[in-house]
Symmetry: C2
Subunit: 141 residues, 2 copies
DNA sequence: TGTAATTCCTCTAGTGACTAGAGGTTCAAG
DNA sequence: CTTGAACCTCTAGTCACTAGAGGAATTACA
């Protein structure tokens, strides 16, 4: 049996986060001591490690919830796991391509100024002026 | 003079967001009509476009604020604009490299399952097990 | 001038995924 | 049995907005 602090140390998930997951229903309410403190078993440990790894992979909690509900499922239901993986991958690729075009734009902006700063700074100007940009950009995360 | 709706149309910034920027001090409080409605001039329009472009480039509002305070500055103070640009660029590159390693990992996970789903799904399993992963990952945004 | 449609006002609360802190209780070691 | 660490609940704060309620002002048209 693990106290919440021990569980935290084993999983690298911070204590308030563990309680937050419990509130959200991602972790079942654990047993308590006579003094009302939480005690976890290995099942809870595994479940929390699962959540943590999904989060590290960038999945939102709603998807983590979906995957957790698939534990013990079989047959076609398991295709939902594939869907989640592919959706996340597509999202990731989209984000990467947007971030790369932002990188190009910011590189240009960074180099724009000669550093003399007599009256103006070309970097400052470029930050405000989209006309100098190569293409559109919507950052979104 | 623009009403808030007109300003919104000219800048593609949503009305509640304009009011939010005013609350945050990024936009000065505009004049009001006798009936208490906001009226903006071209200076406000330009300032809002500046903010919007910075946001599109991914700058947090604190940096936008810093850049706005540099308008009209000269000399060494303008180096702060360069610092902001380079910090943002470094942050961007860091994010891209982390997202790319995530992409590799998710690609592997996606391909892990043969789709038979007799009893288990290898995708679902891979989501929970970091031992199969090539390296560490901390997603963070 | 009347009236109806549109736009505007303030205020509160919600998003996602936590994090920080206050004020108090329980546990474990010596 | 005492001390100090770890635990409890609850509230509020983070970032950058977004949505909605309930009401007032403006604009367009007849
Ligand atoms: Zn410069
Ligand atoms: Zn641009
Ligand atoms: Zn599968
Ligand atoms: Zn992993």
């Amino acid at each position: 049996m693990y106290s919440i602090g021990n569980l935290s140390r084993h999983t690298q998930v911070k204590i308030p986060t563990i309680r937050f997951y419990e509130d959200k229903g991602l972790l079942p309410r654990p047993d308590r001591t006579a003094g009302n403190q939480r005690r976890y078993d290995d099942t809870a440990l595994k479940r929390l490690l699962f959540i943590r790894h999904c989060r590290d992979l960038g999945l939102p909690l709603t998807d983590v919830e979906g995957l957790l509900s698939l534990e013990g499922a079989s047959g076609g239901d398991l295709n939902q796991a594939h869907e989640i993986a592919e959706r996340q991958l597509a999202d990731l690729r989209d984000r990467i391509s947007r971030l790369r075009s932002l990188e190009a734009e910011l590189t240009r902006i960074s180099k724009a100024c000669d550093g003399k700063h007599d009256h103006v700074c070309a970097v400052l100007h470029a930050f405000g002026d989209h006309n100098e940009c190569a293409g559109p950009h919507a950052h979104s995360k």
